[in-house]
Symmetry: C2
Subunit: 279 residues, 2 copies
């Protein structure tokens, strides 16, 4: 079996060039590691974005529609995937359905739409995570999983026979009711968040748990909620109490914590049922 | 005709007691002004909220379901109405449908659900606006309109024969797809925002304009977007360019600006068609 080729594209914000080189070195040091193609679009800059909407969509399709690539690895979050997602989804070819797509945070807009189209997607670390404390471990986890499907990379509650999905709360809140929303009926839905006020998390959980579509999930697991912004006055509940209360009101089983978040420990959550075919 | 009685309740954050007294004095100085009953619940404090969810719902129902009151005037925004809205809506009596409800910002959760239930609601100034620069004018505008239906208080684009509605963008974004969402088919939808980043406004406008329910509006007008938080790097478009672009992509007519916002100039937008029956 030949070396696997992984394409890195940036549908939101640009990737730091030094981080990109460090990630390439990490992959190069692996035994039988994959080969990385870092699309030059990752380094474009257009205001908030890594190139304009057309450039980001075009780069994504370069990799997604090319049979030489085993996987599309999303470089980083930020904001911008929702601006090019429908353009991408309308132009995918059959090769696009044979590969795996990995990312999280803002990339959730794309993961959602790709999953709705029948593609194989997973929530997990991105190249830009290299810059986090301990981030090399996150990058290695992603590379190992993309390369061999290493089970150690997976979120530990997976494998109970139920399909799964994972999202940043705010991202999922902004894609429900749009053409990007996948059918998550009977899925275990894992949610994580970063840099929000607790009142805002409460409001987002109201919105999510009040959707009739999401009331059909098998249950919700809460990942890490990090860098919570100061609430004034203090919010009376913790993030887990907030999520449990809204789940209770909506009749959605609360299933406990999930090992995902905006951090180096972020484990991988393939959407749907674990496939017999490894990544 | 006797003096009109207006009840003030606080479904989100508490009302400052000094502001409450100043608003009472403003009403007292009006010729044939209304009488205000400031529900003691307005001054409760429970963490983030003006009393717990049950206390806020109960106070709201005290006024809404009492035939002596002509109007329910929401004291202020903050956050919390979505936590008690369904409790309120399930317990309204026939008297509740005969009065008018006025507020904006977080109160939009209640206005939405009340309008969906056939109540008469309006987006406009609240008692807490007294504390803004020039805020006495906003309070007087609201009191005059509640008391006599003064046409000078109304948003100037109204009266073109089409029904209208107005919301804070983030609030509407968090209530679409929930039981609180009213049918806004063929309505002119006015949107305003405060204290958000432009990238976040872009994301919210994606979410709103991608809803099939909101693609049925007659068009969108943009109110003021104030206190925009610094975007890093700078966002390439203005708030109006953002709204126009998403409207274009969704096939929703963009109708220009609206005279509403988180400020003392905030004009009143009664939902639906102007009623033959004045407030």
């Amino acid at each position: 079996m030949g070396t696997k080729l992984i394409g890195i594209v940036a549908p939101a914000a640009p990737l730091d060039a030094v981080v990109a080189e460090r990630v390439r070195l990490v992959a190069g040091d692996m035994d039988d590691g994959p080969e990385l193609l870092i699309h030059p679009q990752c380094f474009l800059s257009d205001g908030h974005f890594a190139g304009d909407d057309a450039a980001r969509a075009s780069a994504f399709l370069d990799v997604a529609n090319d049979p030489h690539f085993h996987a599309v690895w999303i470089a980083r979050g930020g904001y911008g995937s929702c601006r090019m997602a429908e353009r991408v989804l309308s132009q995918l070819n059959d090769y696009a359905r044979e590969k795996i797509y990995l990312g999280y945070s803002d990339a959730g807009f794309l993961l959602a739409g790709l999953y709705a189209k029948g593609c194989r997607v997973a929530h997990g670390p991105m190249p830009a995570d290299f810059a986090r404390p301990g981030g090399e471990a996150a990058v290695l986890r992603a590379l190992n999983w993309l390369n061999t499907g290493a089970a150690s990379a997976l979120e530990p509650s997976l494998g109970d026979g139920r399909p799964a999905a994972a999202f940043n709360m705010v991202v999922l809140s902004h894609l429900v009711g749009t053409a990007l929303e996948p059918d998550l009926t009977d899925h275990v839905l894992m949610l994580e968040e970063v840099s929000e006020h607790l009142y805002s998390i409460d409001r987002t959980m109201f919105h999510l748990t009040a959707q009739s579509s999401l009331r059909r999930v098998a249950g919700i697991r809460l990942g890490r909620v990090s860098d919570i912004l100061a609430n004034e006055p203090a919010f009376a509940e913790s993030e887990e109490e907030i999520v449990q209360r809204w789940c209770d009101e909506a009749g959605i089983p609360y299933l406990g914590r999930a090992d995902i978040g905006h951090d180096a420990d972020n484990k991988i959550v393939p959407f749907g049922l674990p496939s017999a075919k490894k990544p």
